[in-house]
Assembly symmetry: D3
Homo-oligomer: 241 residues x 6
């Protein structure tokens, strides 16, 4: 029995608030239960130096947690003078995931910056960030088309992510903080929609408490696939509005 009363495969209530702030080309507040992440997409002309002259675009991401998004206040990285390893790891993951979903050649010489700022953290912030950033990115790309900056939609398919894990020997989907804190295994899965199916973009599984077997890996993957299928439906619904 999970703390929230959910079944093993059940996601937390999932909502997207588009246009949450007014300046960004895309601005989405995504909520997985109590986890709240503000994802904005900024369109800038030009590309990083290493891409100059290749007629391709680029996508980067930055991730940060507000100091009091967590139970205990954690120090601001601007005060510490550098971003920590966890932050860098997560923002590299977000950027990689969304780049995999976009045909950069169709994007042209633009850079899209995805900013994912965690307002409240209750587990699964990185997967929520990827999921919300996908919607913000869609909004930004749509705006570019309206402004004539793009001829066609460079997005190959929707991207979503979910965390799965083993807690007390049971495989479960979409862990909240108190589950995450005691999980034996923690796995994040990112998928892209391909026609009626889904393919894997990224899988990161870690044995926090105990190594896991091939069999457990398969169970976790099945849970993730099921959860992401539901998330894709929610993304589509909010984008149709």
């Amino acid at each position: 029995m999970r703390p929230s009363g959910r079944t093993a495969q059940q996601l937390r209530p999932l909502t997207f608030t588009r246009h949450y702030t007014k300046y960004a080309e895309g601005a989405v507040l995504v909520e997985f239960g109590e986890t709240r992440v503000l994802c904005t997409a900024t369109v800038e002309e030009g590309v990083p130096r290493f891409l100059k002259g290749q007629n391709k675009g680029w996508i980067t991401a930055e991730y940060s947690m507000l100091p009091r998004s967590t139970h205990q206040r954690h120090a601001r990285e601007s005060v510490k003078g550098k971003q920590g390893g966890r932050t860098l790891e997560i923002q590299r993951l977000i950027a990689r995931a969304l780049r995999a979903a976009v045909d950069l050649t169709k994007l042209g010489e633009f850079t899209i910056k995805l900013d994912c700022d965690v307002l409240q953290a209750d587990g699964g912030t990185r997967t929520a960030a990827i999921t919300g950033a996908c919607v913000a990115l869609q909004d930004a790309l749509q705006k570019m088309r309206v402004e004539g900056k793009l001829k066609s939609n460079p997005m190959k398919g929707l991207v979503a992510a979910v965390s799965v894990g083993v807690v007390g020997g049971e495989s479960i989907c979409d862990l909240e903080y108190i589950e995450d804190a005691i999980a034996e295994t923690d796995m994040n899965v990112v998928m892209i929609e391909e026609g009626a199916g889904r393919k894997i973009i990224e899988i990161q599984g870690t044995a926090e408490g105990a190594p896991f077997s091939h069999q457990q890996l398969l169970e976790l993957l099945a849970l993730a696939d099921d959860g992401i299928k539901t998330i894709f439906q929610a993304q589509k619904k909010v984008l149709e509005k």
Copy 2:
């Protein structure tokens, strides 16, 4: 005529949302029109080294803008590796203002950290931050009393702030961004409620476009005094809930 149709002395719609996030001891979203600042108050045991053994408390503040809280995305300070001069100046101001409102001896050996994160910036973020932080601070102090950490309320009076300025030769109150950008003079005033009256805690006036006269200073002060009087009423109303 102001862009918003407001009169010279008229404030923008002002709202406070208490308990905006769930972990902090105080967590208030303050909105002056389109300017939105999340202010949290964190209570920590102990004081900085220079205060050890003096049986006094301390209050500090940190200020930050989300990258896309502004028209153009501005670089994240954690990525640049340091906080800029403007940020440091503002957070020093916020901390000084709130410390002036609290009897640190009554606070005991606790440190309260005020985090002011700008979600959307449309002028007056620093004065909004001070105004919102005062409410978050009250909530945190109230929680400390309930938990028996404080015997009496160390707050000497409410603190609020407003920006005033000279635009096109006219003195106006609570400037929004497009007014601020063209102001000849920009002034921030912080006051504390003292009985039925108000006293000044901080005044910072800068001739951005043209130096100002003694007479103009008096006009600006009167506008600020009037505006802050209204803000105190709003603070009291939301704190009574």
Copy 3:
């Protein structure tokens, strides 16, 4: 009675030593009593990127205290790896004050860097820095005219600053360190000479110990105005040599 035996409105002995060092385009040692600040003005071709192509000049400032300019040695900022908030705040103030005194369009595409290094600190270093930097700036501009880099003097008027404050309930002018340390209110005022009168460029008042009333603010302003009038005379006298 003040420690130095001065009256409330009396300034400390004020001296300017021009050409204190030999390489800078302007180099002035300014002394307010025991406070000694070396102010140099450096002329460089070109402007920061954000001004390129606008046919305007720019003025910046940097401020620093020698480690043993103070009672207790304070750590060198180059060793700490960053400038502190107080330093940044002061150098932003100095630059803003002097920019307000110069017609940047007349300056042409030159940048003038004002370096204010405190050799000995006995209160009022930032106001001394502004006051001395104005003289150094005049020397540098004069040198530019002689070298044919300027057609006319871009300085709109002299700029000077003074600190005023409330100590033991009394308003006084030009506080030395032991007064400053116990002041209830501390205020820095920067003015520009305009014809026979003076206008305000910057006012920064802080209630260090107790909030201040409208009446006290007026008293402090009158003292500052009176003090700055005297300083303008001293600046003119030294510039005539």
Copy 4:
């Protein structure tokens, strides 16, 4: 056909040179073909603050590449003033992998620091680092037992890692640089020996060029399992000397 003429599942020649340098408690040069990583284990008394008083040990890791370990010289991180995201990600992975293999309670209040310095990089440096660090760690733990610092061996089982990937649609094991550079999918797998079997400690798969299917994931896992089985034999052989 692979550039080296290897079959899909074939590892590169694998060698371990123990006692490669003389001061460290464990010092192993591991070579996977042309990839050469120096792994040292340093034993220090005490644990990080967050573990104090829990009667447990700790294991950390640091990873670095010599400037000319690569085709093009890459800038030294000490000169840039910070470790990059890739470095932090890898050293976090190494530490996590080895901690998973050790019973920290049996280790007692010691910290073991694993330094993995890449002398030459030809693909698979992070998996080589984990594999070599395991041998260095064993040597250091053995030294601690000889010195009476440990009562029993806290190592739960050998740990090894290998990279697998999809290149030109084919799944292959132990990619060298020119394979890695063009891989559609890149996956690193870390396993621990458990009796006659193996369990997964970490799996990180990324779709660099194209998303991958469930079926491809299974193929990659099988290759990794097979490769790691061979690596465990090599580790045991060298440790028996």
Copy 5:
């Protein structure tokens, strides 16, 4: 013929101004011609961690140039965020030189910090700094004796330094900037007075333009020895006042 008309072995006019600033335990302005360095000595209780409990003192040094002490303005190290290699090299030299002159055991658990700030640079700033710091150190030690912190003088002998070099094939002493800039060889020599004689504490010779022979080294040493002999006399004279 030298630019100043000096003979090969002739020093520039050398002056020491003791008590140049009022807070430091020792504060000396040293001038070698146009080179001016402010040297202060600060006495602090306690020693660095690595010396704790050994009943010994310590001496450190910091060196800096004011931005406009040079022909061209050079960037402030606090702004760049770190001290440069030249700065670190010089302050390590200063500290080493003065430590060699003091019996640290007699000093007791005190740390003396020597700050050498160059107000104007015209060649030989590091040797001037060592020479001036020695006088400031003497003043600080004398103050400690007066205050009863020391039982005896821990200074073993005076320390002084001078630069020598080969310019146009000629060996000369005490190079000013325009000589230094074209020197084939540049050498700094630090000596300690021992009875009627002198011994070498540090010698640093560099072939800037052309390698030098054994014979040239001997000539340079003789010049340095002669120059330092004169400097010792000047130091003694000023300390007798």
Copy 6:
């Protein structure tokens, strides 16, 4: 009697391993006894800004010690966020020494970067680095000639270095760590071969424990000259292969 049984003037066994790694234009492992330094030379097109358009080349150096190259592990400079004073001092010395050996005009607009990474430190790492870097530089220059980037060899002569010192009153050559740690005087000498003779490029002598006399300096120089003569023979021998 020295710990190794060597005579006062005897060098440790000296070996050079060329092509130690495969990517760099020059890559030499140099060993002075147990001291092992990997020296690579990287050729890059272009020169630093200050040399642009002068039709000259440039040579720089970087030096680093692996964390466990020493008895006690020392912290990685990339983790500390900056290079220490000793590191900067040494790499400035290496670059200066090798630049003195090369006719930069003949080099053309190329920059050669010398990386000296200490794998194991047993005294004399900086002199070993210079000595090994000279061989790596020769290899890189030779490669440039083969590739047609150079018309003639810009190397003026071989460069080598050795440490000498006074231990227990005796002058000795090529100190190993346990000698270095107790030396009264420590001196590093860098020479260039000029025809059948040698000239001095750099001399750095420090009185670590006791000041030294003119006579001792001469003894040390004679030892260094003798040692470097032997090193030149070894360099030539390995370069002839």
